[in-house]
Symmetry: C2
Subunit: 226 residues, 2 copies
């Protein structure tokens, strides 16, 4: 018999998702949690009640959910496991970075703390995952998030891609096909009128990115040297 867990991979996914969405807005609307997880709002609501019973989240009706300190710790643990596995899958196993997200999302729920820390040692404690997102510490702290959303840059402004928000494999693939990955230097060449898409110069190519997409790309903005 393995030890009885208080919750399974489903609850872990809720916590992780809430933690991720909290970077965009807090409290996190239950609806957005449901959307992100592809689950009905009724089911999401149910689960959030259970998580509240267990003191992992606090729900303000009609406002949204917050993680408690304990919930954040748990969520960061899941995120740590996912991002460490992402590192191993890309650097160790050579799986393309746009595919590792989902694979790691399975492994993250099946990884003992002993294995997690042994893996961290093995990888020599990387600071970020292949998508540039910081890896939480072993005691559940999330490092500060650097950078500004690419969508905020105006034409003529330059920067270096820092990280891509962990939303979905589709997003990463979309960006990868356009040469957008952590470390690349970019320049916004144009913004279409009426809140239209941005044109981005990467290397010597120019790609057009929708605002929704560009909102998930974080950049280190270059000092304006004119």
């Amino acid at each position: 018999m393995v030890q009885k867990r208080f919750f399974g991979s489903s609850a872990e996914m809720y916590l992780k998702t809430i933690a991720e969405l909290a970077h965009e807005r807090e409290p996190v609307p239950v609806t957005s949690v449901a959307d992100r997880l592809g689950i009905s709002t009724v089911s999401a609501s149910e689960m959030i009640h259970r998580l509240e019973d267990r003191k992992f989240v606090k729900h303000r009706p009609y406002k949204g959910v917050y993680l408690t300190a304990e919930g954040r710790r748990k969520a960061n643990g899941v995120i740590r496991r996912q991002r460490l596995w992402e590192c191993f899958l890309t650097n160790g196993l050579g799986i393309p970075w746009e595919h590792v997200h989902d694979f790691a999302c399975q492994l993250e729920h099946a990884t003992d703390p002993v294995v997690t820390e042994a893996l961290a040692d093995y990888l020599e404690h990387p600071a970020t995952c292949p998508h540039g997102n910081p890896i939480p510490t072993a005691d559940g702290e999330m490092p500060a998030l650097e950078g500004v959303p690419l969508v905020n840059l105006m034409p003529g402004e330059k920067g270096v891609i820092l990280r891509i928000h962990p939303v979905s494999e589709e997003l990463v693939k979309h960006l990868d096909e356009r040469g957008i990955s952590p470390g690349r230097e970019i320049e916004v060449t144009e913004i279409a009128p009426f809140n239209g898409p941005q044109s981005i110069e990467v290397g010597d190519e120019i790609h057009v990115l929708g605002r929704e997409v560009a909102a998930h790309v974080m950049v280190q903005q270059a000092a304006d040297t004119r």
Copy 2:
């Protein structure tokens, strides 16, 4: 949305367990499956019905259960994943071999085929797990099992430890504490009367092993050179 699976980790454990027990006796009594999984016979019986509906096993009432070809393929897939992870956890991460069994038993249910094969490449396609058990092929075939049970050796007979049946972490620890691991040369020095325990010489120490334990240790018997 991830793909909808027909069964979860529980059903995989049943298939793996049936495959393992089938080496000792076939058909496999439902009771022994239940015992090995630490589950009531009623529950095991229910699950075996479900597995039969899905054509993974065939149940002969009052006799036991067989794997179908498809069930064996599935079971060998699980075993392949477990043993590959065991290799990585010991050789890659440096986790002691007596601990990797349970960790790998979690990971085996969360590993995509793409990851499995990338891992096999990475490990350079090992033939056996750290316990000496052969790793099934990518298409679900189990290599032939060599060796005879240590418990069958008579006093004076020698051999080399080939593998330890994948039963439990306790068994492995018990053996490890007595210096019994794959590759070691041993000699049976004595068998206590009335089907008693065997005394085994390993290196220059002598350890006493119960018959139950010794039945799970497989050896390559040395030619009797007298």
